[in-house]
């Protein structure tokens, strides 16, 4: 019984410790990453959304466009 409580207390200390260490390291990692990205891959905040989205899904967009064009063509032909 007391032993079990002891395990529980230990688990709490270790557990909260890990959680804090883990998330604190994540804070450091995010800050480092943010400064690296802003230095080496700067993106104009406004364009940031517009430009990459259009480049990234270009093929999907193109595919969809091509398919819908094909469908229209098919329908008009048949």
């Amino acid at each position: 019984m007391t032993e079990l409580i002891g395990s529980g207390v230990e688990l709490m200390l270790v557990g909260m410790g890990i959680v804090f260490v883990f998330l604190a390291m994540l804070v450091v990692a995010i800050k480092t990453m943010a400064s690296l990205v802003q230095r080496y891959f700067p993106e104009p905040p406004a364009a940031a959304v517009v430009v990459p989205v259009t480049t990234a899904n270009k093929t999907d967009k193109a595919t969809i466009a091509a398919i819908s064009a094909a469908v229209h063509q098919y329908r008009s032909k048949n």
Binding site: M1, I18, F22, M25, L26
Partner: protein, 375 residues
Amino acid sequence: MENVISLWHSTGLYNFTGGQAFMMLVGFLLLYLAIKKNFEPLLLLPIGFGAILSNIPVAGIAEEGGLLYYLYFGIKAGIFPLLIFMGVGAMTDFGPMLANPKTLILGAAAQFGIFASLLGALALNAIPGFEFTLKDAAAIGIIGGADGPTAIYVASKLAPDLLGAIAVAAYSYMALVPLIQPPIMRALTTEAERKIEMKQMRAVSKTEKIVFPLMLLLLTILLLPSAAPLIGMFALGNLMNACGVVERLSQTAQNELINIVTIFLGLSVGSKLSAEAFLQVQTLGVLALGAIAFAIGTAAGVIMAKIMNRFSDTPINPLIGAAGVSAVPMAARVANKIGLESNPHNFLLMHAMGPNVAGVIGSAVAAGVLLSLIK
């Protein structure tokens, strides 16, 4: 005549046990809460329905060969909670957290509710009738993570018998966040603190949003691989959404796939609401400890926010600490609402989303610790 008697012997009326009848009432109560009170209906409706179906005498829907028996495999194998976590990952926007990373610490603090209620469960063993093992206690504590799939995943590994009660408690208290949190938040903060306005956040680039889930996964791999299934699937969903090149997979993960799995998961969780497993004094313990876990988590988050506000160069409204328990996005909305009451020009929603999503990571990390240390 023989047929009529055999038919009567095959009715539910003839075969009902008191326990089954009671559990069906529990099922109908869950349906009522889901439909009329809007308590996390996406989960509590199928869970409640599953509870009813699995307690029907004769039909054996949750016994070998029955539908819920087969569906439950998806929980036993951990497949359903992980797929839901992938979908949740795809729906999560880490932008606010990346803009203000120190809010991650709030997501860490709020996990104190998990460990406090773990300890509480062990302490309850002093009362005759309670015999929680360390595994049971850990599974109960995870309710404090305020995150459904994580709670179900951990409970299915550590304490499958308590799974029904734990899932019900977790989703019920998530639905009750607007009732549980405000008094605690008001008690622990001054009017002046609640009025604190926070600085406008910086914009977060797409690259950061793509790199973050990979970084999170990498840290998990290096430090806490036992959390890797949960955080891995979460990161996969998040990456699919952030990267923008697999839009159709991301959409399916956060719509049809998560919907299908939610129906199956809810029904299977409900099938664990059997009389033998649920009608125990232990269940009362689970429900009480779950509430305590939410309350302590909330308090820990607020107190940590107060401490950080003292030492931070930019002001931090302590209310956003409460969002660290996760319960996305309910807890963030509660913080916003309480903040608006004190200062009608103070919109905390986006600021609270940081600790809110950090809380998801925090409880997945806590789950990893529990799964790793408790054998």
